[in-house]
Symmetry: C2
Subunit: 345 residues, 2 copies
């Protein structure tokens, strides 16, 4: 049973590295399969308190005018038609720059203890500010994005309705985007139905996969409502993870040598939709991802049958996708700074 001591290490790591979630989701205690309490908890449907704010946030999420080119929106890389991802190894930024890291899903991101693979943003609001001003992504600036929005009467009115005042700055922009993203949860997966007592919601094979997922130790890191997202862990714990991706992960935030190649554990909700996998997008399929995780994190070689069982379980984590009506964006005016897709920087 070579995974036992590793599991202990992981549990210790989880308890020391766990960052309290920034949002409503409670920190989930890691439990073992023997306690009777399941280590994964159901996703609850989103409750909306400020409908105008969420609608505004949805417009902003889909608005490519938040980018310098006028062509890249939040939805470009966190596509709500495709599990909240772009299904690319790494994303495409301004003037087709290659992104440094795989775009994580925005679905259930509210449950993450922190945002980005390295956790450098405390919450969704802080995260939303990043790509707008990142020269490799939307390549705009907060000031320019705000200038664009302030020139559009439809937005001025929508901000007033959402916030009850005349402020329209980057704080309001990112707050509204975060409010929309808070609604992007995926309840009622087959696994959630099983958790809630519907014993027919899973097949025998899927349930075997879940049992293996627990007994093998996957659940040490992949637990809670998002089946992950609540700790940083070293990628390549038992054996090194070989990649050409230069990201250092958590060490880029903390500056600590011991955080090198520590990354936020991704959610496994909707993992069937969020391929390719890992921070470098190197694993094209769930089969490959499960095999790599077992070997490098748990020191275990799954048989083909075991792997298939775990994959079958993982596919039961696909929940009801948010039903999004495409927003209509208020038109620019003669005062709106025009997009500049082809200008040299």
């Amino acid at each position: 049973m070579p995974f036992k001591p590793i599991l202990s290490t992981l549990l210790l790591a989880a308890s020391t590295l766990l960052v309290p979630p920034a949002h409503a989701a409670p920190t989930t205690t890691v439990t073992t399969a023997t306690t009777g309490k399941e280590p994964i908890t159901p996703v609850q449907p989103a409750r909306v308190s400020n409908r105008a704010m969420v609608e505004l946030g949805k417009q902003l999420f889909f608005d490519p005018r938040l980018s310098r080119s006028g062509a890249i929106s939040c939805n470009s890389c966190h596509n709500l038609s495709m599990g909240g991802t772009d299904n690319l190894k790494t994303s495409i930024g301004h003037q087709w720059q290659q992104g440094p890291i795989n775009s994580p899903t925005v679905l259930n991101a509210r449950f993450n203890a922190a945002q980005f693979w390295d956790g450098r943003a405390a919450d969704l609001k802080a995260q939303a500010a990043g790509p707008i001003a990142n020269p490799k992504e939307m390549a705009f600036s907060h000031a320019l994005a705000v200038d664009v929005l302030q020139s559009i009467p439809g937005y001025v009115a929508a901000f007033r309705q959402a916030f009850g005042n005349d402020r329209l700055g980057i704080d309001e922009v990112t707050q509204a985007i975060a409010a929309f993203e808070e609604t992007l949860v995926t309840p009622n997966s087959r696994f959630d139905k099983w958790l809630k007592g519907d014993r027919k919601a899973l097949t025998r094979n899927e349930l075997d996969g879940y049992k293996l997922f627990k007994s093998a130790g996957c659940v040490a890191c992949h637990n809670g409502p998002a089946v992950g997202g609540n700790s940083f862990q070293k990628m390549g714990l038992v054996a090194p993870y070989l990649t050409s991706n230069p990201a250092l992960g958590r060490a880029d935030v903390t500056g600590r040598e011991e955080d090198r190649h520590h990354f936020k554990v991704p959610t496994l909700r909707n993992v069937e939709l969020s391929y390719p996998y890992f921070h470098d997008g190197a694993a094209a399929t769930l089969t490959e991802a499960v095999d790599t995780m077992a070997r490098l994190q748990l020191g275990r070689q799954f048989s083909a049958d075991e792997n298939a069982k775990v994959v079958a379980f993982l596919k039961t984590l696909t929940g009801e996708q948010p039903r999004v009506s495409l927003p209509l964006l208020p038109p620019s005016t003669g005062k709106t700074p025009p997009p500049r897709p082809f200008d040299q920087p």
Copy 2:
């Protein structure tokens, strides 16, 4: 009255160049303001006969996997959040190539006599095949796009449901996309309400603008249900249109010298949303576009007041935008050829 002979020329041109619409919309006879019959006809809501086909077409319209990069969909350049356009002078293609011409709106495109600015596609189905294989746009091939779709069980099932057989080729792909695009009409604009007898639907100012639109001769080309789209006309009829855009327009299709710089007259439906204007996207505002059109096509200099009245009328052509629920796209499989955004060609 310098426009009278020009109007006659235009009417002659319209009668000789008019191409019968490929779709249901009847060719509209150009009438003058004095006949009592209005030269613009209301847009009717879309009727859907094959719901499964339309839903499939919507998925395909939003699916970036029809591009080589996995990042460009039909909706990238014909964004249904933004009047069916990208609001860029010219679009951004594969690896950020600069498109040769302004992307026309897909809204009410079914009423066009032919598709593309030069009319090289007879109908929406033929149009849809173009960008997928255009190396400057989606940069894929029909065979590769079909390979991708055939590898995705969710698509295989959707094609079977839509077509009632097991064929899944580029003909079915483009037919489904066209079926979705046929639904993208914008009825019940304020102008349509006025046409149908609601005399309060337009303000005095807007009605003055419409009268001027007719009496000045704009209506010679901008008529019918789409307020355009049913003839090719020379850009720069009275005086040359100066542009750095090298497009020859209709001459690229016919090879005839006399078709140089003849372009399809664009629809003016939702023109408030489809900025910037003209085949080169050079006019940023309606004010500028109206001024240029009056000078170069009608030999007329509108006063600021006249221009504003015509612009006010044009804004009454904004109709009810299609309410589109974002489609959920079936996930790729291990057999799906992966996207190649960064490969060198």
